[in-house]
């Protein structure tokens, strides 16, 4: 039944539209409004459902380029997930440890992981970049990035 990739996508989108519509119908009513807050969301939900149906019945074959775009080797998937993990760790620790240390570590670690082998220039770039950005934001733009454990 779900032969083409577009049909699978259409089902996912239809489910999404269903959830969205369900939530839209459960929005609290506001007595005095002629046009209430739920009108546009309801319309959008129906619209998405409509396009999902169109996509399901769209017979257009996938082009080679499109197919190539969505096929990834297992190795690449793992690398992307690892970079994602790096980012999540960075966000989690940013306010606790502070911008300077986390940013320098992230740039060094992430570049190293992705295959940058010149350790000295990597270290210089990560430290100098973090310092310059920190200085630029905190002192020039007056936007305070988290200092964390270094009291600067």
């Amino acid at each position: 039944m779900l032969v083409r990739i577009n049909q699978k996508l259409a089902v996912v989108l239809a489910v999404l539209a269903g959830v969205y519509l369900f939530l839209s119908f459960n929005l609290p009513k506001y007595q005095n409004a002629i046009i209430d807050a739920d009108m546009v969301p309801k319309g959008l939900g129906v619209l998405l459902l409509f396009f999902a149906v169109l996509l399901y019945f769209d017979k257009k074959e996938e082009t080679e380029a499109e197919k190539k775009k969505r096929t990834m080797t297992r190795g690449n998937v793992l690398i992307l997930l690892a970079v994602l993990a790096f980012i999540l760790i960075y966000i989690f620790l940013l306010e606790m440890v502070g911008f300077l240390i986390m940013t320098a570590l992230f740039i060094f670690g992430c570049s190293l992981f992705l295959g940058y082998r010149k350790h000295v220039s990597n270290a210089i770039v990560s430290i100098v970049f973090s310092l310059v950005i920190y200085g630029l934001f905190n002192y020039l733009l007056k936007i305070n990035l988290p200092a964390g454990i270094i009291p600067l």
């Binding site: 996508l9 939530l23 409004a33 002629i34 209430d36 169109l54 295959g115 940058y116 007056k142």
Partner: protein, 505 residues
């Protein structure tokens, strides 16, 4: 203030020390980011937004405009040198620019591109200056019905003109509109789709969407292609000299495409990309030796380069006069305006003349900078392309994270950024265009408000649109832009199928 005085006061802004400095920074950074394969003007503008937070709005916007056309120019450099366009608008530049570079004439190709960009950019600024006040004057009388219709047209046009599947483009636009309904409804105060999370009450910041959907998604593409070593080629650029004959050959396409490119840029949905392709095709049709196209033709390089820069100027017309962006890039630019507390629209010229004329005047200056910056510095700029990919990836990720953190000081938004990065990546993977999403996100809030205001005036009756000729015409055109591609797409398919069955029999 009349146009001449306005322009003069604009030049005062542009020629102030601050003005010159920031136009220069904008153009330089734009060129730099635009050259990176995969990073386009949307990422460039989004990355630069946090830098502008505490700046004077006029100076900040002057810089942003510089980033925009700098990025377009930067994209053409990487198209010519590497056959790797950084921006969709410069894909056509590679058709003849890259063959020229392969013939050892990279320097000449870059010089032609610089001059063509300069011409296209300058002509379009002049036209922009003439047209925007006229359109603003007309738009002052527009009510919510007309605005709703205009934005609706912008959205349907960008969806039906984006490449790939039209249905997917419309889905992308619908999803963008849905995301903007998250948060407190501005008219009734109802909180919608927040799941009780206080961080969602104010809605999702547009920078989260812009950086997630574009910069982070582009990063994941860079991760996948990180072993690409074409950037390490240190080719000899050759001479930058352009002979008189070359210049003669360029002048025809440059003149025509400056005007055509501008017009296409003004239209909603069509931008630099479409302008450059149309320019390439029309010049090929007009050329006496069309067979030279694709093999390093000067005309074939000058035409799309002129047109994409002219279209960039054209795209500012609806943005400045109506406050309605016609493309993904101008949508992000509108976000930059709003962050700085400047509302573009018909009243901009009256209320903030220094901003309006400052931007226009700075575009003249910026175009000159681009020419100065690019001609002698080309060999050095080309070295930029040799930044190791792993380092580039890490830096872009950090820039995106800082950008979001600096507006919200809240790690929740950083997690949202990652979520939209993943959504952007999946959209790329399954060939959903991202530009309609961001445009719908930017326009969605305004559209909903205009729509509900209109219906409140009419007490809930849709018939009000029938009484407003301008709004009605625009809506009819919009519906046509939805239905025509869906219909012709289906018919083409039918014909193809019949052909196919015919052959097998």
């Amino acid at each position: 203030m009349d146009a001449f005085n306005g322009l003069m006061s604009g030049f005062q802004v542009a020629f102030s020390l601050q003005g010159i400095l920031f136009v220069f920074i904008g153009v330089f950074v734009g060129t730099f980011i635009g050259m990176m394969p995969g990073l386009g003007p949307i990422s460039a503008i989004a990355i630069m937004i946090p830098i502008t937070y505490s700046m004077d709005p006029t100076v900040a916007l002057v810089m942003m405009a510089g980033v925009y056309y700098g990025a377009i120019f930067g994209g053409s450099s990487s198209s010519i040198l590497l056959n790797a366009p950084g921006v969709a608008g410069t894909v056509a530049t590679a058709f003849d620019g890259y063959p020229m570079a392969q013939q050892g004439k990279a320097g000449k190709a870059l010089a032609i591109a610089a001059i063509a960009s300069f011409t296209g950019g300058t002509v379009s600024v002049i036209l922009l200056m003439l047209f925007t006040p006229i359109l603003s004057a007309v738009a002052v009388s527009f009510g919510p019905a007309e605005y709703f219709a205009l934005m609706f047209l912008g959205l349907t046009a960008i969806s039906s003109l984006s490449d790939g599947s039209t249905i997917k483009a419309f889905i992308s636009a619908t999803l963008g509109f849905m995301v903007v309904t998250i948060g407190i409804d501005s008219q009734t105060g109802t909180s919608r789709f927040t799941f009780g999370n206080p961080n969602l009450l104010e809605g999702i910041d547009f920078l989260v969407i812009a950086l997630g959907l574009f910069a982070l998604a582009e990063v994941s593409t860079l991760v996948l292609n990180r072993k690409d070593t074409t950037m390490n080629d240190n080719k000899d650029l050759g001479s930058l000299r352009i002979s008189k004959e070359d210049f003669k050959e360029m002048s025809g396409p440059m003149t025509r495409q400056s005007f055509l490119g501008f017009l296409i840029g003004v239209l909603p949905g069509a931008g630099a990309t479409i302008a450059s392709f149309i320019a390439y095709i029309t010049e090929k049709k007009l050329a006496k030796k069309p067979e030279e196209f694709g093999k390093g033709s000067i005309k074939g390089l000058a035409a799309p380069e002129t047109a994409n820069n002219a279209a960039t100027g054209g795209a500012f017309v609806p943005l400045l006069s109506l406050g309605i962006p016609g493309s993904g890039t101008t949508a992000v630019l509108l976000g930059a305006f709003l962050v700085l507390g400047v509302q573009p629209g018909p009243l901009l010229i009256q209320d903030r003349p220094e901003v309006f004329w400052g931007i226009i005047a700075s575009m003249y200056v910026g175009n000159i900078f681009l020419l100065i910056l690019n001609l002698p510095l080309i060999p050095y700029i080309a070295k930029v392309l040799r930044i190791p990919r792993p380092l580039l990836i890490s830096l872009v990720i950090i820039f995106s994270l800082i950008g979001v953190y600096a507006i919200s000081f809240n790690t929740f938004d950083l997690y949202m950024l990652v979520v939209f990065g993943i959504i952007g990546f999946l959209m790329r993977m399954f060939s959903f265009p991202a530009a309609p999403f961001i445009l719908a996100f930017i326009l969605g809030g305004m559209m909903e408000q205009a729509f509900r205001q209109t219906l409140t005036i009419s007490n809930g009756s849709l018939a009000i649109f029938l009484d407003k000729p301008i709004a009605l015409t625009l809506i009819v055109v919009s519906l046509l832009t939805i239905l025509v591609p869906l219909y012709t797409g289906r018919r083409k398919l039918k014909v193809n199928n019949e052909d196919h069955t015919g052959k097998t029999l």
